[in-house]
Symmetry: C2
Amino acid sequence: MYTIPELQQLIEKAIPAIEYPPHPKNLYDPITYIMNLGGKRLRPALVLIATDLFSGDVKAAMPAALAIETFHNFTLIHDDIMDNAPLRRGKQTVHEKWGVNNAILSGDVMMVEANKQLAQVNAEVLKDVLNTFNATAQGVCEGQQLDMEFETRDDVSIPEYINMIRLKTAVLVGGAMQLGAIISRANVAETELIFDFGESLGIAFQLQDDILDVYGDPDKFGKQVGGDIISNKKTFLLLNLQQAATAEDQEILKKQLSNTDLNSKISAITALYEKYKIRELATREMTAYLDKAFDALDRISVPDSRKAQLIQLSKELMNREN
Amino acid sequence: MYTIPELQQLIEKAIPAIEYPPHPKNLYDPITYIMNLGGKRLRPALVLIATDLFSGDVKAAMPAALAIETFHNFTLIHDDIMDNAPLRRGKQTVHEKWGVNNAILSGDVMMVEANKQLAQVNAEVLKDVLNTFNATAQGVCEGQQLDMEFETRDDVSIPEYINMIRLKTAVLVGGAMQLGAIISRANVAETELIFDFGESLGIAFQLQDDILDVYGDPDKFGKQVGGDIISNKKTFLLLNLQQAATAEDQEILKKQLSNTDLNSKISAITALYEKYKIRELATREMTAYLDKAFDALDRISVPDSRKAQLIQLSKELMNREN
């Protein structure tokens, strides 16, 4: 069995080695650019971790891992256009650097590149791999659509929010692990359990992201602390605050949402979070999803020793600072 | 053997029967909208025509035909964003109707829908089908990139232009037919020949499009006659005129390219086309590609009787009025 750092290193070596056609340069340069901006490489690593969990051939799973990372980065390019985001991982976004039209098209061709990588998996599992990948990709698009629609809606419920992050973030985590299981020829029940594990882990991960946005250490977070507050993002925290607050505090919150003094906005809304113990609420919800993930993992009939690293990684992800 | 109208009818019936998820409505409505705007359905029909040419099972090829049509319509949504086009087939474009962000995302999920359809083909040919489809999709993206880049370049050569239309238009025609051949279990040499046929036919088709833009019958063309002239589109006609014209006529042309009186611009540039017999030149080029297509078809070892309809269709496409 590989250690997780070993698997991560396999990914780190494989990504810069992917070859794209040299021409048209402006079509392919953005792909090399975004694929090499860094990031946690969590999703492709999870493909390999799941493969290894079921004692499969990690090298045979590499095309699927690269397909997942390529697809993920494609969604980042298009999401950044939609969000009008200037920066990604501290660097210019693709549409800022190459223009929107170019960014649309480089994203499109990345989707093709992801499919090309995917088509390299063993023919015996190809159909299952495609079905899982396509369902995953579809979920991610649906999640992004809901996320956009929520921006202009005032009646987003908490279950709707959880469903949105499930689709936008968690399905890809679950799908990545399911691909690894399929490539290892795990049985259907086990591929479903590992999907459930990944999906719940992904929801917990995103809830942790919502918490970190408010409570992260500015020196370690990597993004602007309070960014979600500034943009009035309907996070798990804000939706719960809106639900819990008294009429009086609702009014205060409403005024703060249009406060242009951003530091004062961040402190005022954070104070409301404190008052209603929203951080504790979000942490409980996150822990509940983590427990759900571990329940699914528990039901997978693989020796505990093979699961230990994954459990360790999951716990670390929930205690991360960025 | 089916007649071509029979195959077209199979397509016409299959397209409205494709089911997309009901939610999120704004993600999937644009797909239903653009897929049902009509059009010649030439590309999916060619998948089935090629299948039938090689005596394959036309119904088994339907998922590939629908994948090709879905992919084609996805590219139309994204191309219309990039071209800032208000109308498609006389109706509002998707980004006009739903907004740019929504159009980007509906396009993305259409690519997934195309891949889902493709994954339904027989497992035995799946890998070949994917490889052909992905190579085709990649070519189309490269062609669109070149097309965009040509807008701001002043040194586009005629071979570069032919290569651009090859990638943007012809590769999809060739790829569609190759998919049909693969699904019919034609041998590699024959799948390559039918690709060559389609590719050359596609180039001829696009050259005819360039000609029709200037010489089409306004009552039948469906688009504005002279549209390419108005937008200074570097078509086969314009590039050849620029190459053939005397220094004096180059000057006249240059002035006309910035003429804001559009009717006078169209007549002046059309007069230059007449003077240098550019229509004849373009028609000769188109005929040369049609001949090239027929040469490839000729080398396919299938009885002539099976080829007759395809030859007839190709000739009709070259004599079309829209």
